[in-house]
């Protein structure tokens, strides 16, 4: 059943796109592309849910030979374990909801059918990525989602900003992809395959000394490969330093932001890293954890000062993705994936909610464009700050135009509040709390077990980021829904969205409660073994004790790694219990700390933006350098545009000039020299000697002809004389002979 079901899941959205593309060639379009695409997604969702039943503990990949070259065979296939199914469900569910939401949101757009076709193509690519059992397949899906992301960010390509953003997104991710490709080349060269699972897969061969020795050089090599593969994830999941494309990607329609740039595609990086979990070594894990931690912190700080509602959410996404990376880097495989799942729902909800708000304001867009741009500039002057990108914020996305919307749009407000509570880590009733807590606990536990200062630092970063997250998310809520309307005219026009948009919000809001039960998650999702992490504390672990009691709090996320270690080998029961105890302890510490810091963040936000006890402006003025740094996004864009892009373009011009002037110059120069020198001689020779001879011959012939023609008297008798005389002579001569 597995293969047909997956095939249906893949083919439904692909067919929806294919119908659009083929009719497009004939310059037509299907009358209800929206319903077609949505139906395709719903079918895929149904199949994905059904697939839950088909999961087996030790699945085998279902493969076909794709390319066979003598010894080497590249296969393509599906691999279905619980993680795959969870991803399938997340993708199809969010995608279906986004489809439904878009029916309302995109209504009236001139390219309405195309939007749905692109969404279908994206869904196909994403699902293909998820179910692939090998790196090549993942890479194919990986790039295809990149293409869809490109197409959808640039959906309103008439806007220059959108055109720039889509190009930037594609190129930036491509830089990461090249790293991933190099990683693939390394793995392929070493293992002669790109399959991950099965007897000939990389994960089997990785323990085979024939392919990889477990000594220092082998581990070092594997670390490099792991980090390179992770480069792909850095690009796709918008980790520092390749994160800059994601905020710009907000130029796309908001449902796209929700689906691609919050819930699914950007999470593909996390998914990939999780898939590659078995090849991660201590060093590459640490790199991943640091990248994740830094990303979480950097993005969160930037988010504080944004005014564009979508940018705030975008940076929030980057930050949360950093969290997930941190989790996987710290070995908390399950926590990372759990956060991926919960985040997909509540972040999609936040984006769709913001879409609902933008939709409410959208009608105003046209005739208020100009004056609000002026307003923005005015405000910047008040701040006395250079806002390089400030004036680009469309008025319908600018939080400074909002406020007091909670009465106008109660459903949107309610659902967004749920999501905000969830992302901020408000305890116990929201899924985000559990997943975030698990990550913090995992990092702290890892630190305590390994006694590594790195993980303490990372834990600290994650904790601060959690606090900041709570702060800016509530800032968003307060600025948008509370207080007095800042722009009365726009406020008057605002209205609650139609039911096709509200229903998806409600569904997602339900999913933001711990519907995805952490206990269930922990029971089913097991981290794969990491054969090359031979941390000393694991080496002596005993076989022990499955007993980690499931009721004693929520320590299981941390335990998961310990359990994995236990299964592997070792004798020392005591040590195992030790580790278990440490993780449990770390979890308790982490929970208390995270509740405290989330509360602190919310409180500050309330004081700043609701009660107005403090003025954000004055704080900004006080810490102007820091503010400037945040406002300018740590100058990443400036660095890239000013240095990397400029350098590349300069280099290309240099090359082109080199080509034109040096290479072609040499060629033309050789030609010229040949012509000038060689040809001058030849020309002389030609003129004087060859032509001279020709001319002489011609002259002689001319002169001779002038004389000889007199023989032609024109009188027949003369000719006869000559002829007969000639005959006589000839005969006489021959007779004489």
């Amino acid at each position: 059943m597995v293969v047909p079901l997956i095939s249906i899941i893949l083919l439904c959205p692909l067919a929806a796109f294919a119908i659009f593309a083929l009719l497009g060639l004939a310059k037509r379009s299907f009358p209800r592309q929206d319903l077609l695409s949505t139906a395709a997604m719903l079918i895929a969702l149904g199949c994905s849910l059904y697939l839950l039943k088909e999961v087996v503990p030790k699945p085998e990949p279902h493969t076909v030979d794709w390319i066979s070259l003598g010894k080497i065979t590249f296969s393509m296939g599906f691999y279905l374990d619980i993680v795959t199914v969870i991803m399938l469900i997340v993708v199809t569910l969010v995608s279906s909801l986004v489809h439904i939401f878009s029916i309302g949101y995109m209504h009236g757009d001139p390219r309405y059918p195309r939007f749905f076709a692109y969404l279908s193509l994206f869904s196909f690519s994403m699902l293909f990525l998820v179910v692939s059992d090998n790196l090549l397949g993942i890479y194919i899906g990986w790039e295809l989602v990149g293409l869809c992301s490109y197409l959808l960010i640039g959906f309103w390509f008439e806007k220059d900003s959108a055109a720039n953003a889509c190009k930037k997104a594609f190129l930036t991710t491509r830089v990461g992809d090249v790293g991933m490709f190099i990683g693939m080349m390394m793995l392929f060269t070493r293992f002669d395959t790109l399959s991950l699972y099965g007897d000939n897969g990389i994960f089997t061969r990785i323990t085979n000394p024939e392919y990889l020795t477990a000594d220092a050089s082998g581990i070092f090599w594997l670390s490099i490969a792991g980090v390179l593969i992770f480069c792909g994830a850095i690009g796709k999941s918008a980790q520092v330093p390749l994160h800059t494309w994601l905020p710009d990607a907000m130029e796309g329609p908001t449902p796209v932001s929700a689906l691609i740039h919050a819930a699914t595609m950007v999470a593909a990086g996390v998914y990939l890293t999780a898939r590659m979990f078995p090849i991660l070594t201590p060093s590459s894990s640490l790199v991943i954890a640091y990248v994740g931690g830094i990303t979480a912190l950097v993005a969160a700080t930037i988010a504080i000062v944004r005014f564009d509602i979508k940018r705030v959410l975008a940076y929030s996404t980057v930050s949360q993705l950093g969290y997930m990376m941190l989790a996987i880097g710290a070995g908390s495989y399950v926590a990372g994936l759990f956060h991926l799942t919960t985040h997909a729902f509540f972040k999609a909800l936040l984006f769709l909610g913001s879409g609902s708000v933008i939709h409410a304001f959208h009608a105003m867009h046209a005739h208020h464009d100009e004056e609000h741009t002026d307003d923005n500039e005015h405000e910047h002057d008040n701040h006395g700050l250079v806002h390089a990108h400030g004036s680009e914020i469309p008025p319908d996305q600018d939080m400074r135009n909002m406020g007091g919307l909670r009465r106008k749009m109660p459903w949107t407000f309610g659902t967004m509040l749920v999501a905000t509570l969830s992302i901020s880590g408000v305890p116990f009733f929201f899924s985000g709390f559990w997943s975030k807590d698990a990550i913090l606990a995992g990092a702290l536990g890892k630190a305590m077990v390994s006694h590594s200062p790195h993980y303490y630092i990372l834990f600290g970063m994650a904790l601060i980021a959690a606090g900041i997250t709570a702060f800016y998310m509530f800032r968003l809520i307060f600025m948008t829904f509370f207080g007095e309307p800042r722009n009365q005219e726009m406020h008057d026009m605002a209205h609650e969205s139609p039911w096709v948009m509200v229903v998806p919000l409600l569904v997602l809001a339900v999913l933001s409660f711990p519907v995805v039960n952490p206990i269930w998650f922990n029971d089913y999702v097991k981290p794969p073994p990491q054969p090359h992490i031979h941390a000393p504390q694991h080496a002596q672990l005993g076989p022990d004790t499955k007993t980690g009691d499931a009721n004693s709090g929520f320590a299981f996320f941390g335990i998961s790694e310990a359990e994995a270690a236990e299964e592997e080998s070792g004798k020392n029961t005591e040590k195992a219990n030790d580790v278990y105890r440490i993780y449990k302890l770390s979890h308790n510490i982490a929970m208390v700390l995270s509740i405290c810091i989330a509360g602190l963040g919310i409180l500050l936000s309330w004081l700043f933006y609701h009660r107005r006890k403090f003025s954000a402006e004055s704080v900004a003025t006080t810490f102007r350098p820091v503010y400037n740094l945040f406002w300018n996004k740590y100058y990443f864009d400036e660095f890239y545009d000013g240095v990397l892009v400029a350098l590349t373009v300069w280099k290309s011009r240099l090359f082109a000039k080199f080509d034109l002037s040096i290479i072609d110059g040499i060629v033309n120069g050789v030609a010229t020299i040949t012509r000038q020198i060689f040809a001058a001689f030849i020309g002389f020779f030609d003129n004087r000697v060859v032509d001279g001879i020709v001319n002489r011959v011609a002259e002689v012939t001319w002169a001779a002809g002038g004389r000889i023609r007199r023989i032609q008297t024109g009188a027949i008798q003369t000719y006869l004389f000559v002829v007969l005389g000639g005959i006589v002579l000839i005969i006489l001569i021959f007779r004489a002979l």
């Binding site: 008798q717 006589v728 006489l732």
Partner: protein, 172 residues
């Protein structure tokens, strides 16, 4: 070779032929030349009789004397008019032409004299058989039919051509 009446007549014809031919090429008056030519043609016809070619002799007389010669005389009349009846001959040309002709004659005679195959081929005195019927059969029935037809076409073409060339331009 016994000297019979037959030989006498033969030599008579031969002499007549050659003498009149000489007259053709030497006399200055073109009309006289034409008449001398007539005599030559008669002579040749006589020689044909000696060669037992009776039909040919008759044809020679009828066609040449009756046809061609009259044609020539018409030509003389139409071109020369009254003034140009005399034929001009330049001395140098005369000498040169005479030389070449003489050389040619000597050459031919040498060839005739020095070809052994041709010696002693005398008139064996076979009985005369009329040739007219055989010629008729050969031309109209056997392998000379095609040449005959071709020759008649040629004649036709020549006559039409002659008429075309000699008529006055209609356009003018």
């Amino acid at each position: 070779m016994e000297f019979t009446l037959k030989t006498f007549i033969f030599y008579g014809f031969a002499l007549l032929t050659i003498a009149s031919a000489l007259a053709v090429v030497t006399v200055r008056n073109i009309v006289h030349a034409a008449f001398a030519l007539m005599v030559t043609l008669f002579g040749v016809a006589g020689l044909y009789v000696f060669l037992q070619a009776d039909f040919l002799a008759a044809t020679q007389v009828i066609v040449y004397v009756g046809g061609i010669l009259v044609l020539i005389l018409f030509g003389v009349m139409m071109t020369s008019g009254r003034l140009e009846m005399r034929i001009h001959i330049e001395r140098g040309q005369l000498l040169l032409g005479g030389g070449i002709s003489l050389a040619l004659l000597m050459l031919l005679l040498t060839v005739i004299a020095n070809t052994p195959k041709w010696e002693n081929l005398t008139d064996d005195g076979t009985a005369f058989a009329p040739t007219t019927e055989r010629i008729g059969v050969l031309i109209l029935k056997e392998h000379f039919l095609l040449p005959f037809e071709v020759a008649s076409v040629l004649l036709l073409v020549a006559l039409i051509g002659a008429a075309l060339i000699s008529r006055k331009e209609v356009r003018e």
